[in-house]
């Protein structure tokens, strides 16, 4: 009985906060109310929820949480954050876009970066066309909650035929002094024939309490457009992250997304890709290195809606300490999506006796002329390989390190931005020390 009361407390608190603040938030209030209603019906998912079977969100949200993060950071404080060189760096502090901290000099004129509230005013057509239009806000409780409560996140719009050479780096900073729940929200629209690279990083700065980050990014990739997307999740122990990415691909578009989970107490990624046009191509890569008491949960959904599309997924993980890693990949092929090629692979190395891996690769297929496969394997580091290296004079530790590097490099090598790849490689090397 007690747990039920507690669960209601946090849910009720969120809903009453919504009632208080809803008139001051950007966008369509009816949409927000619709989403809030859905969240109120679904509640915070517990372990009986099939999609949240292996994580105990209830437990994470135990205790008191503040719903407004008023903290402002100075550029001196954000200095330790990782700013990507030769890129447009946009800083979001606790879910709110901060122009002063961002470095958005010489953004080309066919690339528009601003806050969502500004987008409502300056780019009403694009905003109206796409915001919450391509996703079902009631499909997941966290999506509903985010849609209801989202504050002023980031809007990125690449105009038709634009080719943006420099990557755009979105830096999500969590920083709080008391337990806080925040709801960052971004909308990324890439018009026809445009090409763009986006890096999202999640970091914690100057925090002394939990931040539960319920982030959602919507991406629309129009005909023949291309998006190269990277996610670096590197929050510290105060970071609890639910990160939903919802991408829709139109005809002949290309999308590759790369997720690197390096730290953070709890990370849950919901990566949903809808291949909503013929001849589209999607690549999903992921690497998770877990340790301590971390819980890392990757859910991906590749929804093949139209014929002649290709998708390819590779997720790898190294699990150490008492950590838990979860992989749940779903390939969904609809009735009309003939000639689909869909592949999925999940590989794990378990290093410790107390680590846990739960993996659930799924295929749901309703078309017959398809080639779909998935594979998953879990094991330890190969004794023979260690022996081979030791016979050549390497110590056991450096042999193991070398093998783990080799294992991770298959994913790391897919990073096309040199400075970012070096950063990730460096982080990984430090982890293996």
């Amino acid at each position: 009985m007690e747990t039920i009361t507690k669960k209601n407390t946090i849910k009720d608190k969120l809903l009453s906060e919504f009632e208080l603040s809803k008139n001051s938030l950007f966008g369509n209030i009816e949409l927000r109310e619709h989403a809030a209603k859905s969240f109120s019906e679904q509640g915070i998912p517990n372990r009986k929820h099939e999609e949240y079977k292996y994580v105990n969100i209830d437990l994470l949200l135990k205790g008191d949480f503040s719903l407004t993060a008023n903290k402002t950071l100075t550029s001196a404080q954000t200095a330790p954050a990782y700013f990507l060189e030769d890129a447009y760096n946009a800083v979001i502090v606790n879910g709110i876009f901060d122009t002063a901290l961002s470095k958005l000099n010489d953004v080309p004129k066919d690339l528009h970066i601003c806050s969502l509230a500004d987008a409502v005013k300056n780019y009403p057509a694009v905003f109206e066309n796409y915001y919450s239009k391509t996703l079902d806000v009631t499909a997941d409780p966290f999506t509903a909650l985010n849609t209801a409560m989202a504050k002023n996140g980031l809007f990125i719009h690449a105009a038709k035929n634009s080719i943006i050479e420099k990557p755009i780096h979105i830096i999500h900073i969590s920083s709080s002094e008391e337990n806080t729940i925040i709801h960052p929200r971004n909308l990324i629209v890439i018009e026809e024939n445009a090409q763009i690279k986006i890096v999202e990083s999640y970091q914690t700065i100057d925090a002394s309490a939990k931040t539960f980050n319920n982030a959602l990014t919507e991406m629309i990739i129009d005909e023949n457009a291309s998006l190269d997307h990277y996610k670096i999740q590197d929050e510290n122990d105060w970071g609890f992250l639910v990160n939903t990415t919802h991408a829709v691909q139109k005809k002949q578009s290309r999308f590759s997304t790369h997720t690197f989970i390096l730290s953070g107490s709890f990370v849950r990624n919901n990566l949903n890709i809808a291949l909503d046009g013929e001849y589209t191509e999607s690549h999903l890569n992921g690497l998770y290195l877990t340790n301590g008491n971390q819980v890392v949960d990757n859910h991906t959904l590749v929804d093949h809606r139209k014929p002649n599309c290709n998708s390819n997924e590779l997720y790898k993980g190294i699990i150490d300490g008492k950590s838990t890693a979860i992989f749940n990949g779903k390939i969904y092929v609809r009735k009309d999506a003939q000639k689909t090629n869909a592949f999925q692979s999940n590989k794990n190395i378990l290093l410790s006796d107390d680590g846990t891996i739960n993996t659930k690769p799924q295929l749901e297929i309703y078309a017959d002329d398809v080639k779909c496969s998935h594979g998953t394997s879990t094991g330890k580091l190969d004794e023979d390989k260690i022996f081979y290296l030791r016979a050549r004079g390497l110590s056991e530790t450096s042999a193991k390190k070398l093998l783990m590097h080799a294992f991770a490099s298959q994913v790391v090598d897919t990073i096309k931005i040199d400075t970012l790849r070096e950063y990730v490689e460096d982080k990984i090397s430090k982890r293996f020390e």
């Binding site: 009735k335 891996i357 739960n358 659930k360 690769p361 799924q362 297929i365 017959d368 779909c372 330890k380």
Partner: protein, 483 residues
């Protein structure tokens, strides 16, 4: 051409859809404690059995029907089912001559001629059959031959009377009544089933077999099988199922428990061909079965082989708990769905002991408007050192209106475990067909050849006597059904 054959298959009548005119002794419809007392009294059961049933029933009423499986159907009305239907006259039979000739005809139609087996007894045919019709065991053959070796093979009801200590010890030990909704229901209302005990060091000289048939209208079949292989023993057990054609959906909710002691081996094979409903998806059996085996002690082995072609809705996960060190679990399955059939089937392998191994080979074939899902769990517990699992789940789609799905769950808590899972979904390759055709094999034969090859890994695991029937079933269900 292929389409013709497909439509031929689709239009084909269910071969086993006859009703036998045997007077049956039915309980009134519905389910309450009185019905359970009625069943228990009919079966002349001791007090502890009744207590067990009532305990299960009281638990069952607190449960809700599960809905997580990838199937959709109209929920059966549990108060509109006859929970006890025994073919009359029900007397203890000593020889086949005493069996109702109508009943014998039924079995002849089913293709199991007991008389023939009897004639051949002691020569080549090596199958002992226990026949369960509408939940009541009608006849067990070869009982005498088996008892010479100390093997107990009888109906569950008889076992309760004659070997209560064994039943008490093992029943509920693998599938407790609290396990799930249908296991609880079965524990409350099961009417009969088979019981088998293989004593220490005995290698069962013949295949043991149970034939299940639902005959009466409006009845559910709730049988229970308990099979114990004591130290150093071996047994191969077969199970077959058929039912008449009816417009209504009938419920079959069985429980099978296997126990393998030290160095024992159990091989359990099923050919399931319950009535699948007509081509519009009306009628057919709901097959909600809980099957589980436990490798209780070291070096034991349990192997499940199943060929699933029937039932409107199948919901079945034969599992193995690998408790003893060095124990082995195997699961080989072919599941075929056509028309509006739905199958959600797979296995669970729970690795608890050290050096345990499991293999899962699952082949799904969907045609028509059907949906076929594999759902499996491989769990490596902490401390299950050097556990090894290999799973392969392939799906073949025939036609663009059916679905094939794979839902594997893999949970690993030990670093020495090596677990691999592979799944593919595809249709028969044009190049494979072309290869065969260019060598003068016509389309239908080529498809038959490819499908047979596709299932071979599983069919090879069936005992000879069953392989023939399984191949016939597959041939009927599959050949040429690719457009």
């Amino acid at each position: 051409m292929a389409n013709e054959i497909l439509s031929e298959k689709i239009n084909e009548e269910y071969k086993y859809g006859f009703v036998t005119n045997i007077e049956a002794d039915n309980a009134p419809k519905g389910l309450n404690e009185d019905i359970i007392r009625f069943i228990s009294k009919k079966k002349n059961e001791p007090e502890w059995m009744l207590e067990y049933r009532l305990k299960a029933f009281r638990y069952w009423i607190t449960l809700e029907e599960p809905h997580w499986a990838h199937v959709s159907y109209q929920k059966p009305d549990f108060h509109d089912i006859i929970y006890y239907s025994a073919p009359k006259p029900k007397v203890s039979l000593n020889s086949l001559d005493e069996v109702d000739p109508e009943l014998l005809k039924t079995f002849e139609k089913l293709g199991i001629s007991i008389e023939e087996q009897k004639r051949l007894s002691g020569v080549e045919s090596r199958i002992a059959v226990d026949i369960v019709m509408d939940s009541v065991s009608v006849k067990t053959t070869f009982k005498e031959t088996l008892s010479e070796k100390g093997i107990i093979f009888c109906s569950f009801g008889e076992a309760v009377q004659e070997h209560p200590e064994l039943v008490k010890k093992y029943m509920n030990s693998v599938v407790p009544y609290t396990d799930n909704f249908y296991a609880a229901l079965n524990s409350a209302v099961f009417t009969d089933g088979s019981f088998c005990y293989i004593p220490k060091g005995v290698r069962c000289p013949m295949e043991l077999s149970t034939y299940f048939r639902i005959n009466s209208a409006g009845t559910g079949q709730f049988e229970r099988t308990l099979l114990i292989a004591d130290e150093d023993s071996y047994v191969s057990y077969l199970e077959g199922c058929t039912a008449p054609m009816r417009d209504e959906n009938q419920l079959h909710a069985a429980v099978v428990e296997l126990v393998a002691h030290k160095n024992a081996e159990i091989k359990y094979s099923t050919v399931q061909n319950w009535y699948p409903g007509n081509k519009e998806g009306i009628g057919g059996i709901f097959n909600f079965v809980t099957k589980r085996g436990i490798c209780l002690e070291d070096n034991s082995k349990i192997s499940w082989t199943q060929v699933e072609t029937g039932s409107a809705v199948t919901w079945k996960y034969p599992s193995v708990i690998l408790k003893g060190d060095n124990s082995v679990g195997e699961f080989y399955s072919v599941a075929v769905t056509n028309n509006y059939q739905q199958a959600d089937t797979g296995t669970k392998m729970m690795h608890l002991g050290k050096n345990t191994r499991s293999t899962i080979i699952s082949k799904g074939i969907s045609a028509g408007f059907s949906n076929n899902s594999y759902r499996g769990l491989v769990r490596i517990a902490k401390g299950a050192k050097n556990a090894r699992n290999f799973s392969q789940c392939d799906s073949l789609l025939m036609g663009d209106k059916c679905g094939a799905h794979t839902f594997p769950y893999i949970e690993i808590k030990d670093k020495t475990a090596v677990v691999e899972h592979e799944a593919t979904t595809s249709k028969i390759g044009e190049d494979q067909l072309f290869y065969c055709k260019s060598r003068g094999i016509d389309n239908e034969k080529a498809i038959g050849l490819i499908v047979n090859g596709y299932c071979k890994e599983v069919l090879n695991k069936l005992p000879m006597e069953f392989a023939v029937e399984a191949q016939k079933l597959l041939a009927v269900s599959l050949e040429g059904s690719v457009g």
